[in-house]
C-alpha cells in the first residue's frame, strides 16, 4: 500500500502492480467525491503508458455508467419516496431551507388540474384546455402583446443538468418552425420552465379539431383531399426543418373559423424527452394507436414516412368516418396497427373515386418503402387529383346565380320576399311569363355532392346522416314553384329555393336550387324515409299550409329498402300509372314496395287534384354506422 516504487528499472510485473495501484488510488479519490483529472494522472505516470491509459479508460467507462444510472434513477427514487410517505415530504424542520437544490425537496406538484396556476412564466392562466398523461394545456393571456395563447406544461420535472439545455435546443427548432409562418402550421411562440417543469407557448387557435369538424360538417371526398393536401404541405415544411410530428391524428389538426386546417402539437411529439417521465425506447407509443404507423407501433425508429402514414390515416378517417385502427382497447389498437390491419373495403364507397382510394392506400402502405416517400409527394398527388377533377360545375352554378342576380334582380328578391318561391316574380308583380299554358313536366333532382361533383340520388343511396345534399329542380316556365321536405319524423318543412338559371327559348324551364351553392346542407337525424316535393302553381307558389293537409298527419313514412328510391309526379313519371321505384345503376324498375308506394300514390293523387305540376322523391336515410352500401 506504499507509494509508487522509485526504482528506474521496472519489470513487467512491477509495472502492472503499479498501474493497479494508481488506478486503485484514482477510484478511491473518485469514490470520496474528489475531483480527479485523468490528464494529471497520466502526466504524472508517463512511464506507465499506454497500459495506464487503457485501464483508466476502462474504469471511467464503468464509473460513468454507474453515475448516469444513479442520476437517472434518482429522480424516480425520489418520486417513489415522496409517494411512499407524506412524512418524507413534509417532515423535517429544515424543509424550507432545503427548498432549492436539495435533492430531497419534494417534487413540484405535477399538475393538479383543480388548482389552476395563476401564472406560468409571464403568461396569465385563463383556464384549463386539456389535461393529458404527459402535459397539461392551459389557455392563457400574454398581457404584453395582448393575445391569447396556449401554454402546455409538462407533468414531469426536468431539473437535471443538461436537460434544460436540451429542452431549449429543441424549443429553438420549434421556433424555427414558427418562423416559417406556414398558414397550416401551429406557431410555437415561446418556451421556458415553470419551476422545474418545461412549458411551450403556442398560438391559440379558436376552432374545432378535425374530428369534431368532420362530424359537424361532413366533408366531401374532394374537400377532404384538399384539406389533407394542405396538411401534407405543412408537414413537408416541418420535415424540411428536421421535425417529425409522430402523432398525426384528427385531434391534432385544428380547423379555424375560416375553415383553414392547422397542424398542431408538434411540441409533444418532438419534446418527448421532456414530456416523458420515463426514458422510453425510440418512438414507442408517442403517437395515438388508432392512427399509428406500423413501424411506430412496433417501437421501431420513426421517420418522415411515419408521418405520411399518419396523414394517410387521417385521410382515411375523413373518407370513411372511422379511424383505421379503432379498437376497444389500446392494446388491441396497437396490435392492429402493428399488423397494419384496417378495413380497406371501407374505401369502396360511392363517391370515393379510384384515384383517391389509391392515394389513400399508398399513403397507408404497411411497408414504408411503398408509401409516398415524402409528405410533399403526397401533397403533389392530391393536388394533381384536385386539379384534374373539374370544379366547373360549382363555378358554373355560382356564375349562373350571379348572372341571374345581375340581369333580373327581381328573381332574387322575389323568392326571398315571398313565402313560396316563384321563378317568375314576386306575387304582387305581374308574372313575367304568364302565357305559357303547357304544363310540361317538372323535374326534381336530388344530388349528393361528393368530390364537388354531383352524384345522382339513385347512386348515392342509402344516404347517411351528414351527407351533403343539393336539390335542383326544373320547373316549366311561367309557374311558381315551392320546395317541401317531409323528413323522416314526418315533419313538413318549406325550403327557400334559389334561382339558378332562367328559361331560354331552347329550354323553357326555370332551374332552381336549394340551398345556396355556397352553403352546405347536411342531412340530419333521425334516419328513416325522407320525401322531397316540388309543387308548382299557376298564380302563386304553393304555401306550406296548402300542402300540409295533402301530405296528411305528421307521421313518418314506412321504411324503404336501402337501395330504393321512389319517384312520382303528376303523371306518375314516364307516363305510367304507378309511382316508379328507381334503383341503383340507373335501372328503372317497376317494383312494388308495398307501403311506401301506397303512401306515395295517395299523396300523388291528392297533389294532382290541387297542383298542375309537381314531383316528388322518397329515399332512404340511415345512420353513418349503418350497413355499407
Amino acid at each position: 500500500m506504499g507509494g509508487p516504487s522509485e526504482t528506474g528499472e521496472k519489470g513487467p510485473q512491477e509495472r502492472a502492480e503499479r498501474t493497479r495501484q494508481v488506478v486503485s488510488e484514482f477510484r478511491s479519490h473518485y469514490d470520496r467525491g474528489e475531483a480527479v483529472s485523468a490528464e494529471a494522472i497520466v502526466a504524472e505516470h508517463q512511464d506507465l503508458m499506454p497500459e495506464l491509459g487503457e485501464k483508466l479508460k476502462k474504469v471511467c467507462l464503468v464509473l460513468n455508467a454507474g453515475d448516469e444510472a444513479l442520476a437517472q434513477r434518482w429522480t424516480d427514487a425520489r418520486k417513489r419516496m415522496d409517494e411512499d410517505t407524506v412524512s418524507f415530504r413534509t417532515g423535517g424542520s429544515s424543509a424550507g431551507a432545503s427548498n432549492d437544490a436539495a435533492p430531497t425537496g419534494p417534487l413540484p406538484n405535477t399538475g393538479d388540474e383543480q388548482d389552476l396556476p395563476a401564472q406560468i412564466g409571464k403568461y396569465r392562466v385563463i383556464g384549463l384546455l386539456a389535461s393529458g398523461g404527459q402535459a397539461i394545456a392551459y389557455r392563457a393571456a400574454d398581457d404584453t402583446l395582448r393575445r391569447d395563447v396556449v401554454v402546455k406544461v409538462s407533468r414531469s420535472a426536468r431539473d437535471r443538468a443538461g436537460e434544460r439545455e436540451q429542452f431549449f435546443k429543441q424549443g429553438r427548432i420549434l421556433g424555427q418552425l414558427g418562423q416559417l409562418n406556414h398558414p397550416n402550421l401551429e406557431r410555437v411562440l415561446d418556451c421556458g420552465f415553470d419551476e422545474d417543469r418545461p412549458f411551450l407557448v403556442m398560438d391559440y387557435i379558436g376552432g374545432r379539431n378535425l374530428a369534431q369538424y368532420s362530424r359537424d360538417t361532413r366533408l366531401s371526398p374532394r374537400e377532404s383531399a384538399a384539406m389533407v393536401a394542405k396538411i401534407a404541405r405543412a408537414l413537408a415544411a416541418a420535415h424540411c426543418c428536421g421535425v417529425i410530428h409522430r402523432d398525426i391524428k384528427p385531434h391534432n389538426i385544428v380547423v379555424d373559423k375560416g375553415g383553414e386546417p392547422r397542424l398542431i402539437d408538434f411540441g409533444l411529439a418532438l419534446l418527448c424527452d421532456a414530456w416523458q417521465s420515463e426514458p422510453i425506447p425510440s418512438g414507442w407509443l408517442t403517437g395515438t394507436a388508432a392512427y399509428m404507423a406500423p413501424e411506430q407501433a412496433r417501437g421501431e425508429e420513426v421517420d418522415a414516412r411515419s408521418d405520411v402514414f399518419g396523414l394517410g390515416a387521417v385521410f382515411y378517417f375523413l373518407l370513411t368516418g372511422k379511424a383505421p385502427f379503432a379498437a376497444p382497447s389500446l392494446l388491441a389498437a396497437i396490435d392492429r396497427a402493428k399488423r397494419c390491419d384496417f378495413d380497406r373495403q371501407a374505401l369502396n364507397r360511392p363517391g370515393i373515386g379510384r384515384g383517391l382510394r389509391k392515394i389513400c392506400l399508398k399513403a397507408m402502405a404497411a411497408d414504408r418503402e411503398d408509401r409516398y416517400q415524402t409528405a410533399e409527394a403526397l401533397a403533389r398527388a392530391l393536388e394533381r387529383w384536385l386539379a384534374l377533377r373539374p370544379k366547373w360545375l360549382w363555378s358554373a352554378a355560382a356564375v349562373a346565380v350571379c348572372l341571374v342576380a345581375g340581369a333580373i334582380g327581381v328573381y332574387l328578391l322575389a323568392p326571398r320576399g315571398s313565402a313560396g318561391m316563384a321563378p317568375g316574380a314576386a306575387q304582387s308583380a305581374p308574372p313575367l311569363v304568364q302565357t305559357v299554358p303547357a304544363p310540361a313536366d317538372a323535374k326534381i333532382q336530388v344530388t349528393v355532392w361528393q368530390n364537388d361533383a354531383p352524384l345522382p340520388l339513385a347512386r348515392a343511396i342509402p344516404l347517411r346522416t351528414g351527407d351533403d345534399l343539393r336539390i335542383e329542380c326544373r320547373v316549366p316556365e311561367g309557374l311558381f314553384a315551392a320546395l317541401f321536405w317531409l323528413d323522416a319524423a314526418g315533419q313538413l318543412y318549406e325550403l327557400p329555393l334559389q334561382v339558378m338559371s332562367d328559361p331560354t327559348p331552347q329550354e323553357p324551364f326555370t332551374r332552381l336550387v336549394w340551398p345556396d351553392p355556397d352553403q352546405a346542407n347536411v342531412l340530419a337525424p333521425p334516419p328513416g324515409t325522407e320525401v322531397v316535393l316540388v309543387c308548382a302553381g299557376r298564380e302563386a307558389p304553393p304555401s306550406k299550409d296548402e300542402v300540409a293537409p295533402l301530405v296528411g298527419p305528421a307521421q313518418p313514412w314506412p321504411e324503404l329498402p336501402e337501395r330504393l328510391v321512389v319517384e312520382f309526379d303528376q303523371n306518375s313519371a314516364c307516363g305510367g300509372p304507378e309511382p316508379v321505384a328507381r334503383g341503383p345503376g340507373n335501372e328503372y324498375r317497376k317494383r312494388l314496395v308495398g307501403a311506401v308506394l301506397e303512401r306515395a300514390e295517395t299523396l300523388r293523387r291528392r297533389l294532382s287534384e290541387r297542383f298542375p305540376v309537381f314531383c316528388g322523391v322518397a329515399f332512404p336515410h340511415v345512420e353513418p354506422d349503418g350497413p355499407a352500401p
Binding site: 473518485y30 469514490d31 467525491g33 475531483a35 480527479v36 483529472s37 485523468a38 490528464e39 497520466v42 491509459g53 483508466l56 479508460k57 476502462k58 474504469v59 471511467c60 467507462l61 464503468v62 464509473l63 460513468n64 455508467a65 454507474g66 453515475d67 448516469e68 444510472a69 444513479l70 442520476a71 437517472q72 434513477r73 434518482w74 424516480d76 427514487a77 425520489r78 417513489r80 419516496m81 411512499d84 410517505t85 412524512s87 418524507f88 417532515g91 423535517g92 429544515s94 431551507a97 432545503s98 437544490a101 436539495a102 435533492p103 430531497t104 426536468r158 437535471r160 443538468a161 443538461g162 436537460e163 436540451q166 424527452d273 426514458p279 425510440s282 421501431e300 425508429e301
Partner: protein, 205 residues
Amino acid sequence: MAEDGGSETLIEQAVLGNRRALEELLLDYHDDLARDVASRLPADLQAVIDVDDILHATYLKVFIGIAHCRARSKSAFRAWVRTIAHNQLADAQKHRRHERREAVPHGTEGTGTADLANCVAASGSTPSGKLQRAESVRAVQAALASLPEAYRQAIWLRYFHGLSVQETAAVMGRSPGSIRGLCQRAREALRAILDRQSSKKKGGA
C-alpha cells in the same frame, strides 16, 4: 467494501445495490466483452459505431437493471451482460443514421454517450468534467454509501428499482412487514443525511 470474495458473492452484493461490487464484476469482464462486441461489429459500420459507445450504453443498462438480474453464477452474469451488449449493438446498427456523432465527447477518456439522448441529459457530463461527478450524484452517492447496509439495500431495491414491498422482501429474505419498517427508517436516515449535507454546504458557503 467487497474487494474480495468469489464472483457469486459479488453478484449477490451487486444485485442488492453494492455498486462497488458491480463495478468489479464489469471491470473484470470488460476486456472480453469489448473483444466480443468488436468482433460482431460489421466492417462497414466500424467507422460509425464506436465499441466504447456500445459498452457505455450496455453498462448503463446493467446498472439500471441489476436489481432484476437473476444470474447467480459468473457465467450466467456474463451471459446476461453479453445479451444486453448485443441488443445495444443491434440498436446502434439500426439507429446509426441518427446517431449524434457530435455528442460523443472527445478526450482521452472518450466514454461515449451516443445511446440515448437521455443519457446525455442525465449525466451532465462534459468532456472536461468527465471525471468529476455531478454535484447531486456525488451527494446522493455519498449519502447512500454512508447508510447502514440494510437501509441501503432497501432504498436501492424499493425506490431506485421500483420493486414492490413483496419483491423487496423476497430479494432481501425478510418479511414484507419488516421491509415497510426498514424502508421508512431508511428514508428518514437518507433524508437526514442529505439535509445535513445541504445545510453544511450552506454554512460553509
